[in-house]
C-alpha cells in the first residue's frame, strides 16, 4: 500500500514536471504566428511539423551553423576546462607547497563574485586581444572555473595518499601520478564537471550575445532567440519549436549523465 502511494506521488510529480515540456511541444505544432492557444485547443487539429523545418532551414537564420558553433564551443570548453582545472585541483589536493592553502582560498573567494561583475573586464580584455566576434571569445573565458577546481580537489582529497607515495617510491613523476593514477580514479568527478560545464555553456545566453556580433558566430541559444521578438510580435509556435530544438541535445546529455548530477552535489560536501 505504502509502495503504491509512493509510486502515485512520484507519478504525479513526474506529470507536474513534464507538463511544461509537453505544452511547449504542443504549442510548437500550431500554425506559425498563431497566438498561444487556450487549454481546450492545445492539441493542434493539424500538427504543423513544418514549423521545425521552418526553424531548421530558415533562409535568414543559419540554424545548422548555430548548432555547429554550440557544439564546437561546448566541446572545447569542456575538454579545456577538464584539463586545466584537474591540473590545478591535483596540485592543490596532492602536492604540498608553500601557499597552497592561500591559493585555494583565493580560488574560493573568486567564487563569491557574481558572473556579471567580471563580464565587463573580460569583454574589455577580449576586445584588447582582438578576439571579439570570434569563437575564441566564447571558448577562452570558459577554460577555467573555480567551481570545477573545487569539485575535483574535494574528490582528490578523498583518495588514499598511499597511492602517490607508492608511485613516488617507484620513481613516478607528478605528471605520471596525475595522468596514470589520479585521473583514472577521478572519472566520477570529471564526469560531473563535464556535465555541469556542458549544461552551463550550452544554455549561456548573455556572454555569447555580448561577445559576438555576426550571425554566423551565434550559438544556438542566442541565434534561436531571434524568434522571440521583444516588441510584442513573438511568433510563439516558432519560438517553441526553436526551444525544443535547443533543449533536445541537453535532454540527451542529461539522460546519459543524470547520476553524476546527484554525485556532484554530494561531492562538493566531501572533505
Amino acid at each position: 500500500m505504502k509502495r503504491i502511494f509512493s509510486w502515485l506521488a512520484m507519478l504525479a510529480l513526474a506529470i507536474f514536471l513534464i507538463a511544461p515540456f509537453v505544452w511547449m511541444v504542443l504549442v510548437s505544432l500550431h500554425p506559425a504566428k498563431s497566438p498561444i492557444p487556450d487549454y481546450k485547443d492545445l492539441i493542434p487539429k493539424q500538427p504543423q511539423w513544418g514549423n521545425y523545418k521552418l526553424v531548421l532551414f530558415s533562409p535568414e537564420v543559419p540554424v545548422g551553423r548555430f548548432f555547429l558553433n554550440s557544439i564546437i564551443v561546448a566541446v572545447a570548453v569542456v575538454i579545456g576546462q577538464l584539463f586545466i582545472t584537474s591540473l590545478a585541483a591535483y596540485a592543490m589536493a596532492r602536492i604540498k607547497f608553500k601557499g597552497a592553502q592561500f591559493l585555494f582560498w583565493l580560488f574560493l573567494a573568486s567564487m563569491m563574485f557574481a558572473g556579471v561583475v567580471t563580464q565587463i573586464p573580460v569583454y574589455l580584455f577580449m576586445r584588447s586581444a582582438g578576439l571579439l566576434d570570434s569563437l575564441s571569445a566564447l571558448i577562452i573565458p570558459g577554460l577555467s572555473s573555480a567551481y570545477s577546481v573545487f569539485l575535483i580537489r574535494q574528490f582528490l582529497l578523498g583518495l588514499p595518499f598511499e597511492l602517490d607515495e607508492a608511485a613516488y617510491i617507484d620513481g613516478a613523476s607528478y605528471w605520471v601520478v596525475y595522468s596514470r593514477i589520479m585521473m583514472p580514479l577521478s572519472k566520477p568527478a570529471l564526469a560531473t564537471v563535464a556535465s555541469f560545464t556542458f549544461f552551463s555553456v550550452w544554455t549561456d545566453f548573455f556572454w555569447p550575445l555580448l561577445a559576438t556580433n555576426s550571425m554566423r558566430l551565434r550559438t544556438l541559444e542566442v541565434g534561436l532567440s531571434i524568434f522571440k521578438n521583444s516588441y510584442g510580435t513573438t511568433n510563439w509556435p516558432l519560438q517553441m519549436a526553436a526551444a525544443v530544438i535547443t533543449l533536445l541535445p541537453m535532454v540527451i546529455v542529461f539522460l546519459f549523465s543524470q547520476r553524476y548530477f546527484t554525485k556532484g552535489i554530494q561531492m562538493s560536501g566531501m572533505k
Binding site: 497566438p35 570570434s134 555580448l210 550571425m215 542566442v222 510584442g232 510580435t233 516558432l238
Partner: protein, 406 residues
C-alpha cells in the same frame, strides 16, 4: 581583426547595423526587410551591410553600451523610445542636426513632431524616426454585437468602459483583459491626470497623488471586484492570449498586435476595432503613449557618411512605402502613414497620434527599473491584496532611492 570596428572588406565599407532582430522566419515581413537591405547594397555597391540582431530589450541596451565603452559599437543603431534617454543623454550618439540641415539632408517636417521629440535635445537630434505605435484600446466587434453593447466612442469614460465590460463578461468570456505590463497600464494613470514621475524624474510627489492612487484602485477593482478581466494567476495558468482567442472583448495594445491577430484563428481581422483609451472624467481629453523607434549613428563610427546614407535611404518615402507593408507599426513619415490609412482602423490610429506623449524612458535614464518596480507594485495590489496607496508609497520610495543614485 574581429570586433575592432569594420574596415574595408574587399574594397567595400562594412556598415554594422544593430536592431533587435525580428521574426526571423521566411514570412512576408522578413522578405520585405531583406529586399530593403539588398536595395541599399545595390544602390551603394561600395557598402556592405552587416546586420546585428540583438534580441531582448534590456540585453540590447547593455550590449550597445558595452560596445560604446570599448569603442566598438555598431555604426547604425536602432533606438527604441523606451530606452532612448540612456543613449541620448550619455553622449553615445552622433548629433544628426548638421547632417539633416546639410546638402544631403532630411526634411524633418515630413515626420510626426511627437516622434521626433524622442531624441531631440535643444537644437540637436540624435535619431531619425522610422515607425511607432500609439497604445489604443482594441475591441472585438463580434463580441460587442452578440452582447448588444455599443462600440467604444472617441471620448468614452471609465464609467462607460466599465459598463460595457460588465455587460460583455459572461461565463468564460471577459469584457477586458489586463496584463501587468507597466508600459500599457500607465495609461490608466495618465488618463486620470496622474503619473509615476514628475518632470524632475522623482516619484514621491506624483506616484502617491490621489489621481495615481485612484487609477491603480480602478485597475484593481476591474480585476478583483468587478471581475471583468481574468486575474493575473488565471492568465498565467492558462498562458493564453484571451483577446486573440476571442475570450476577452477588449485589450490595450499597440499596432504590432495586428500581426498576431492576423493569424489568430478565433478572431476575424474585420471584427477588430480600435478606440482611444477611456478617460476618467467626461470632457477630459484622452492621452496615449507613442512607442517609437528610429535610427541613430554611434559616436565612434568610422563610417558616418555611409551610415547617414543608410538612414536617408531607410527613411525615404519609397522605402517606407515598401516597409510599411509589414504592418508592425505606423510609419513616422506623415505622408506614408496617411497613404497607408486605407481602412477605418488605420485611420483611427492616426486620429489618436496627436494625443501621444513620449514614454518616460525617452527622457529618464534607468526607467527600466521604474517599470520593474511598477510591475512588482501592481502584483502586490492584484495578487496580495495590498492597499494601492501603501503599494504606491513603497514604489515611490524605491524608485527615488534608485534614480537618486544616478
Amino acid at each position: 581583426m574581429a570586433g575592432c570596428g569594420p574596415g574595408p572588406s574587399g574594397g567595400k565599407i562594412v556598415l554594422r547595423i544593430a536592431d533587435w532582430g525580428g521574426a526571423g522566419d521566411d514570412s512576408v515581413s522578413a522578405q520585405i526587410e531583406r529586399d530593403v537591405y539588398a536595395g541599399f547594397e545595390k544602390l551603394y555597391p561600395n557598402i556592405e551591410i552587416q546586420r546585428e540582431g540583438i534580441p531582448g530589450s534590456q540585453d540590447y541596451v547593455k550590449k550597445i553600451l558595452l560596445g560604446f565603452i570599448s569603442h566598438s559599437e555598431p555604426d547604425v543603431i536602432r533606438l527604441d523610445a523606451s530606452s532612448a534617454a540612456v543613449f541620448v543623454d550619455n553622449d553615445i550618439l552622433l548629433d544628426l542636426a548638421p547632417l539633416t540641415n546639410g546638402k544631403q539632408g532630411i526634411n524633418l517636417s515630413d515626420f510626426f513632431p511627437n516622434t521626433l521629440e524622442v531624441a531631440q535635445r535643444g537644437k540637436s537630434i540624435y535619431a531619425i524616426p522610422v515607425d511607432f505605435t500609439p497604445m489604443v484600446m482594441y475591441y472585438n466587434r463580434r463580441l460587442f454585437d452578440e452582447a448588444h453593447v455599443p462600440y467604444p466612442t472617441e471620448n468614452w469614460t471609465w464609467a462607460e468602459f466599465l459598463d460595457r465590460a460588465q455587460k460583455l463578461t459572461k461565463g468564460d468570456r471577459f469584457g477586458y483583459t489586463f496584463t501587468n505590463w507597466m508600459a500599457g497600464w500607465i495609461l490608466w494613470i495618465w488618463n486620470n491626470s496622474g503619473d509615476v514621475l514628475d518632470q524632475h524624474g522623482k516619484a514621491s510627489s506624483t506616484a502617491t497623488s490621489q489621481s495615481t492612487v485612484d487609477a491603480v484602485t480602478f485597475i484593481r477593482d476591474l480585476v478583483n471586484k468587478y471581475k471583468v478581466a481574468p486575474s493575473l494567476s488565471q492568465q498565467a495558468a492558462e498562458g493564453a492570449l484571451p483577446f486573440a482567442n476571442g475570450d476577452a472583448a477588449m485589450e490595450m495594445s499597440g499596432h504590432w498586435n495586428l500581426t498576431t491577430l492576423t493569424s489568430a484563428p478565433k478572431i476575424h481581422l474585420d471584427d477588430v476595432g480600435v478606440a482611444p483609451i477611456p478617460v476618467s472624467q467626461p470632457g477630459q481629453k484622452p492621452v496615449t503613449v507613442l512607442y517609437e523607434s528610429g535610427w541613430a549613428i554611434g559616436k565612434h563610427s568610422q563610417h558616418t557618411d555611409a551610415a547617414w546614407k543608410f538612414i536617408r535611404y531607410f527613411t525615404s518615402a519609397a522605402v517606407q512605402r515598401q516597409l510599411q507593408k509589414t504592418g508592425i507599426g505606423v510609419c513616422a513619415r506623415k505622408d506614408i502613414a496617411n497613404e497607408r490609412a486605407v481602412n477605418d482602423r488605420e485611420r483611427e490610429f492616426l486620429k489618436i497620434v496627436p494625443s501621444g506623449k513620449n514614454p518616460w524612458g525617452a527622457k529618464v535614464q534607468g526607467y527600466d527599473f521604474v517599470e520593474d518596480e511598477g510591475t512588482k507594485m501592481m502584483d502586490s495590489v492584484l495578487k496580495s491584496g495590498k492597499d494601492p496607496r501603501a503599494a504606491l508609497k513603497d514604489f515611490a520610495s524605491n524608485v527615488d532611492r534608485e534614480l537618486g543614485k544616478q
